[in-house]
Symmetry: C2
Subunit: 200 residues, 2 copies
């Protein structure tokens, strides 16, 4: 796959606009005017709007480590604190954007009810990568959790908490909802670690 400067500019612009305004509400004309590119160039690289979304999701998938995990985990070593640092990254995103940025993938997941299979698979893959990263943290902390803990299910549940907490915080425009949700999750994980340490 070629990657000229123009192509990259289009993908970066589309990424931001799809994630803030949503896919359907972002017009090709929006992307063209924002990125200072003409329609012919866009359609030279992408057969249609859907293919542009595919490129955006592939770009996001390939950048999850550098652009999300490494930033959130720069200062953190403890695997369980890494999980909450990740959630804290989304908290910061909410506050800094005045609740405009939530979870890019979550927005698309609900907006595109009957999407192109390529798109559904990429959304699913982005979820799976996120879950896998959290699950890896839980694996690192396995000795602090009860032996029968289903760590994959717990990682899925942490994604669930993040997505639901963002949804409610954005609607209420109140970070308190987000914080209370994370606090309940924290208490659940605290209980698990206490249980595990009591059994040793």
């Amino acid at each position: 796959m070629m990657n000229t400067a123009t192509r990259q500019k289009i993908v970066m612009t589309a990424l931001e606009m799809f994630f803030v305004k949503g896919y359907n509400s972002t017009s090709i004309a929006d992307i063209l005017s924002r990125s200072q590119v003409h329609s012919g160039s866009l359609y030279h690289f992408f057969p249609g709007k859907q293919d542009l979304l595919v490129a955006v999701l592939e770009f996001y998938r390939d950048g999850i480590k550098e652009n999300l995990l490494d930033i959130a985990w720069g200062q953190v070593d403890d695997p369980i604190e890494k999980i909450f640092a990740l959630l804290g990254g989304y908290r910061t995103g909410l506050l800094m954007s005045d609740f405009a940025h939530g979870c890019p993938i979550g927005n698309l997941a609900l907006e595109l009810s009957e999407p192109d299979p390529r798109i559904r698979d990429l959304i699913q893959l982005n979820f799976e990568n996120w879950i896998e990263a959290v699950e890896h943290c839980l694996d690192e902390a396995a000795n602090r959790l009860p032996g029968d803990t289903d760590r994959h299910a717990l990682a899925e549940f942490i994604l669930t908490t993040m997505e639901g907490a963002i949804m409610q915080a954005r609607t209420a425009r109140d970070i308190g909802v987000f914080d209370r949700n994370v606090a309940v999750l924290r208490s659940h994980i605290d209980i698990l670690t206490e249980k595990a340490s009591a059994h040793t």
Copy 2:
């Protein structure tokens, strides 16, 4: 507010289409052809598309008890089981619609990032009513929970779990994700009730 047969037919059709296809992806023409109503009649009752959405959200708000809670709780007395019966209702909706129906309000909440204040307030109100209903269940079961339980925060967390679980289940088209999420929530609440009973 008047409520002719035509007006109601429009609201019911819009309700279903907004909730399945989303607001932006549902055109007025879609609603007109499905409801067998002509555009002049629609615009006689509603100044614009946004006002139709307002009417839909008001209708949903007013019907939450009869159309959601009473149905889910018909056979259930135990307050904690009522909560899981409510979640089971969404599970059934997912399965029966082949993952087309999720949570109507959740979809709109993420789709409309910068909505009309009336619309944002109505979405928020629908969330609050749902949380309040769950919180009332928790209040009924207060003696089975630890004394320091923040029941409002826990009710918010249950909404979070429901929304996040639906999002993931729809994306994966797999009810297993939903079930695992609910199982983790169930284990959390079980731990709380065990804790409370140990202290008496």
